[in-house]
Amino acid sequence: MKLPIYMDNHATTPVDPRVFDTMKPYFTEIFGNAASRNHSFGWQAEEAVEKARKQAADLIGANAKEIVFTSGATESNNLALKGVAEMYAEKGNHIITAATEHKAVLDTCKRLEKHGIRVTYLPVQTNGLIDLDMLADAITDKTILISIMYANNEIGVLQPIAEIGKLAKSKGVLLHTDATQAVGKVPVNVIKDNIDLASLSGHKMYGPKGVGALYVRRKSPRVQITAQMDGGGHERGMRSGTLNVPGIVGLGEACGLCNAGMQEEAKRMAYLRDKLRGKLEKELDEVYINGTMEHRLPNNLNISFAYVEGESLLMGINDIAVSSGSACTSATLEPSYVLKALGAGDDLAHSSIRFGLGRFNTEEEVDYVADKVIDVVKKLRELSPLYEMAKEGIDLAKVQWSAH
């Protein structure tokens, strides 16, 4: 076993060596511009792009013509929200999203608000899921778009996208989903789920960074978006810019591999994740899972170790790469807004660790991680005045703290 161990696969994943091998010739040999129509260099590049388009489409049950390649999920989210808001401005000016969305959606919504769009930010329940009745109530005759993520990047919970899709369709409202964390990990089907737009990213599924896609539905309804970047009119006018051929080839191959191995991989991820959880819960008291386990990515475990601060825990497990919702690990010095939205209390957000298992993690690594975390949590609890007080039976919620 090699150290350090990487278990932060929601942040990014390594490129699968098979993906890398597929990409290689497109840097030096088949380097043509996919838009060059009059020589073989261009034709070969175009052929590779079209193959990748098909691979990406197949993974989500779409048609190849419905895939628009972008630089990543942030761009896809921006293009979906801004593109719809601009295109459907005459129909309405209201967008519904949720408090636990990725910043690429939330901050895009904030910008749209400055341009006269009204945005409803739905709260989530303590399990991390939105309330469908609340969503239904939020829809007005001015609502043009619902944007709800498929799987959350911190707590891995899966929103009820199929139900949301059904509701959106019945109300004649478009549904966009940021499916960055879900695609390739769990079955996503744009037809079954009634999804109109979906964002995905290469580097979250063992493909390269800097490439992603936006699915834009072509039939029932035909969705139109206003391009947000002007230029050569690539990607059927929706996204100008010379295509990143090697990146797109990598994304396509990554999609193909996920499509072929998803079921088996999901089973293996769930087994490893559940083993990790079981070990931690057996050896440690007062550990709390953040978000529902029932509807969740198989590779995600987000867990709070009460009375232990997240950054100090990360420091003790410095040969393991994971992340924490603690304020001390964020640039803003604010604890995770996702965990706060669950209403768990800031103290549990400060104590949270996100484990993101991936294709290349082994059972041996999981055992090592579990043992190490248990060890360090025990040590830090010896050091924790809060643990001592809790053991003395003091209700920490009733203590008058000197805030600073």
């Binding site: 601060e309 420091m315 103290d347 600073h404």
Partner: protein, 136 residues
């Protein structure tokens, strides 16, 4: 973020971890911070009432590595100091000793506050004790 070697040393081998008897009249206890802010420090001093010298100091901290290191260092410095000398410890001394980056300065502030709170608790106890002696 990279930690200084001194922070790592205090984190890996924290000095004077533990608790003193809160009800001992010679023990002063300071508890500062709040769980929702991500830092709570408990710092205790045991003072020799004859000499005013701190004979023992203990801490427990919920917080990041820099918070743990700041309080660990504080207890180390408190040993053998008189109460008045202890009040001279400034957060900037801790910042310098541990090479804390700007985002971690609040950890040193918290440690200074914890020292002050512990000593003020001890002084309050000493005052009630002498009142009690005077009135009897």
């Amino acid at each position: 973020m990279a930690y200084s070697n001194k922070v790592l040393d205090h984190y890996n081998n924290p000095r004077n971890v533990g608790s003193l008897d809160k009800s001992d009249p010679n023990v002063g206890t300071g508890m500062v911070g709040a769980p929702e802010c991500g830092d709570v420090m408990k710092l205790q001093v045991k003072v020799n009432p004859e000499t005013g010298v701190i004979e023992d100091a203990k801490f427990k901290t919920f917080g990041c590595g820099s918070a743990i290191a700041s309080s660990s260092l504080a207890t180390e410095w408190l040993h053998g100091k008189t109460v008045d000398e202890a009040l001279q410890i400034k957060n900037t001394d801790i910042v310098n000793e541990l090479s804390l980056p700007p985002v971690k300065i609040h950890c040193s502030v918290l440690a200074e506050d914890a020292i002050k709170a512990a000593i003020s608790d001890y002084k309050k106890k000493a005052a009630t004790k002498s009142e009690a002696v005077a009135s009897s």
